[in-house]
Amino acid sequence: MTGELEGPAPEERPTPEGKRNSQGIRVDPEVEAEREPRRTVISALVEHEPGVLSDVSGLFSRRQFNIESLTVGPTEDEERARMTIVVEEPDPGIEQVEKQLRKLVPVISVRELPSDAMRRELALIKVNATRPDQVAAVADMYDAKSVDASPETATVEITGSRQKIDAAIESFGQFGIREISRTGPTALARGTEDTAASAQTAEQTSRHQPTQTQTTSDDD
């Protein structure tokens, strides 16, 4: 080996006292706290065109964002679709998710929804129909609708919060669950607040405060 240089060796050099955590934030070396992950809902308004879903899912896998669910569907404007994405990340990660989504050209606006936003999931639960009356009673308890019945099976549809659906599935368990299909949540902001509308509005409301609208459901 040649090419070595002269100068004070590493141990002869002054070293600074400070330190950053792995998120690049300067920290007190004694405390060294890192932000914990939290689960949140991000809503994105996107161009309704082929490829957007793969753009978004590709982004999540490429950047190793921790995504729990993603639902997508049309909106009142036929050229636009809305995606509702549940992520679990520490705060700097959530901010990155929003910023990286915004960078995708077909993504129009992005917003983290306030915790009081309306969120609904849908589940189809197919159980054994040996005790149809009891199935109906449990369905009643959870506001579930019967959508199919055969001599051997009963299928109910239930919407609500994740917790409600989890609880329902547990109750239906007694009949013997044959199959379940669940969606992730779809969500809207409450009242007059825009969920994720034009880029302008979304930017202005991106540092949102939960609104004072009355919560009118048992679900959240």
Partner: protein
């Protein structure tokens, strides 16, 4: 922090060109290319390129792209046929770096498109403006695994700023115009339009408009004035300020603003690797490049500063080393046009989203008094002498690569352009060439793609002024990856000089093996290398060879004097290593000057 977005000013969409000219002219009259109404998708594609002011395109022919080539044939755009599509992409990329306008490359479907991918990924990592146009099998075959069908938009999605699968002959011209505009608006990057053959062959009379970005695409030009004010106060109070200047300063044409600001307030300047040339390295305030193979003094300055003004940098890991020890005492002011870069790797106390030139001007306006940093500047100068980059070059030993870099630097003008491959030679070029002008350093930074140097020199040559020399420092390994492009340089009689810093090693890998793998040279020793000077001659270029110091000055002079492509095979000290070095994830302040310090 405010993230309000101000809309970009894009060119007003212009109506399609008047057809009057055409109507007046008799069939025998000379056809004004750009006044002929378009009749096919392919004509619309080429018209869009002409509207965008494209002068050159780089590519390779093939079935699915033939309709576009057929129209290019009669257009004013000069097409350079490259030996390999990777070469086409790198040439277009380098053209974009030097010209500041998207470079254009073309390829056919399937293998043509996949061969482009390395070059596209390179442009993506380095935020270089580039437009790739790929042929595709006719729409009716798409999805059927047709001959030379590859899901090009799928393959390139993660490595493009945006890509589009064109489906409509009426819209294809505007798709191309939009992709061109997107490539250079805001944070630049590569865009791609995939062109099915039935779309380019399809009939249309739709004239594409001027290239413009979609209405929903917004770029913030000026930073939040409140944060600018707060940052200005911080700068005024700084005791140990440093400016960290990245490639965004060059891409954003902000070098004047940055130079004025740093000099006015006497703030030491460190650059990233893509930032080379943004600030004159012969200026007293320059600490040169920081990071893995940056200078000791740059890394000391970064490590000990109390205020870090980062402009147009993404705080890449080769710059920061371990995050925990990166500028651990510094409050960070981060100027970037891409909001997603702010606080991605390093938390910014003062996030300033906007165009580099605009935001630095905002800062210049707000900062009322220079930081009181006399002691700090003296410390920086002290580090410059403590950790000098001086090397020994005993006359009776093999030639030192550093010496060759310096000799060529001296023999060329300040505006000479340097391109490189990837490896040790690239680092020596960074360290020992004195960069003073923006857009003179053209390298594969983020992707680190061996083989970049020669095709990049070809692209740079076409974008450069005639009086700018184009020098490619290559490695023996890197050169072999794209050497076939010499045929292009000869055919087009391009005045470029390739200096192969030949150590007959995959040198950078050999250095790491010596340091971290107990000297086991697994697949890093060639044992045999072609004679590059003779190979050059076989291609029709001029070949030279340097074996010892006596040959250096004369050979360089002869190679530079030759008006056409020349290759100097420089047999350097094969054992030479690159120092200083911060190992991956290491502490910048603890850079090693020798192998046993690693």
């Amino acid at each position: 922090m405010s993230e309000r977005a101000a809309p970009v000013t894009h060119h007003e969409a212009q109506d399609s060109e008047s057809t009057d000219v055409d109507a007046d002219s008799s069939p025998d009259a000379e056809l004004e290319t750009d006044a002929t109404p378009v009749t096919t998708g392919a004509e619309s594609v080429v018209r869009a390129l002409e509207n965008a002011g494209v002068e050159y395109a780089f590519g390779v022919q093939g079935g699915a792209i033939m309709p576009v080539y057929d129209v290019l044939y009669g257009s004013e755009i000069t097409h350079v046929t490259m030996a390999h599509e990777q070469g086409a992409a790198h040439a277009a990329d380098a053209y974009g770096v030097v010209a500041g306008e998207p470079g254009v490359c073309l390829a056919t479907s399937g293998p043509g498109a996949t061969n482009l991918v390395t070059g596209i990924a390179d442009a993506d990592m380095d935020s270089d403006p580039m437009l790739a146009l790929t042929g595709q099998v006719p729409t009716e075959f798409v999805g059927n695994d047709a001959f030379q069908e590859t899901d090009t938009t799928g393959v390139t999605k993660p490595v493009t700023k945006d890509n589009t699968f064109s489906t409509d002959a009426d819209a294809v011209g505007d798709d191309v115009g939009e992709a061109f505009a997107l490539a250079s608006t805001g944070r630049p990057g590569p865009t791609l339009v995939d062109l099915p053959k039935d779309v380019t062959n399809g009939e249309t009379d739709r004239e594409p408009g001027e290239p413009r970005t979609p209405d929903t695409y917004e770029v913030q030009e000026a930073a939040d004035p409140e944060i600018v004010r707060a940052a200005a106060r911080r700068i005024e109070e700084a005791k140990k300020p440093v400016m960290l200047v990245g490639g965004g300063v060059i891409k954003g044409d902000a070098t004047e603003e940055v130079r004025e600001f740093a000099i006015e307030h006497e703030i030491p300047v460190v650059t990233t690797m893509p930032g080379l040339g943004a600030f004159p390295e012969d200026h007293e305030l320059s600490m040169e490049m920081a990071g893995m193979h940056g200078t000791g003094y740059a890394n000391m300055a970064i490590t000990h500063c109390d205020t870090l003004i980062g402009v147009g940098t993404r705080f890449d890991d080769r710059l920061t080393g371990g995050i925990e020890t990166f500028a651990p005492e510094a409050e960070v002011i981060h100027v970037d046009i891409d909001p997603a870069e702010i606080s991605k790797n390093i938390h910014a106390e003062y996030p300033l989203v906007g165009d580099a030139a605009t935001v630095v001007s905002q800062l210049a306006e707000e900062v009322d008094s220079s930081p009181q940093a006399t002691k700090w500047r003296a410390q920086c100068q002290q580090w410059k002498s403590d950790y000098s980059m001086a090397y020994e070059a005993p006359e009776d030993e093999p030639v030192k690569p550093q010496f060759v870099v310096e000799a060529i630097d001296e023999a060329t003008s300040d505006r000479a352009i340097v391109t490189t491959g990837v490896g040790q030679h690239q680092m020596w070029a960074c360290q020992y060439w004195t960069f003073t002008e923006p857009r003179t350093w053209v390298s594969s930074h983020g992707l680190g793609a061996m083989g970049y140097g020669l095709p990049a020199a070809i692209g740079a040559r076409l974008a450069a002024d005639d009086d700018q020399e184009v020098i490619c420092f290559d490695g023996d390994g890197s050169f072999l990856m794209t050497i076939q492009e010499l045929a292009v340089a000869v055919r087009e009689n391009m005045d470029i000089t390739v200096a192969v810093l030949n150590n007959e090693y995959i040198g950078m890998v050999r250095q790491w093996q010596d340091a971290f793998f107990e000297g086991r040279h697994a697949a890093s020793e060639y044992g045999w290398c072609p004679e590059f000077d003779k190979l050059a001659e076989a291609f029709g270029a001029r070949g030279f060879r340097i074996d010892d110091y006596d040959d250096v000055a004369e050979t360089i002079e002869a190679a530079l004097a030759y008006d056409g492509p020349s290759v100097i095979d420089v047999h350097i000290d094969p054992r030479e290593d690159v120092y200083p070095m911060v190992p991956s994830g290491g502490d910048n302040g603890q850079f090693a000057l020798t192998e046993d310090q690693l």
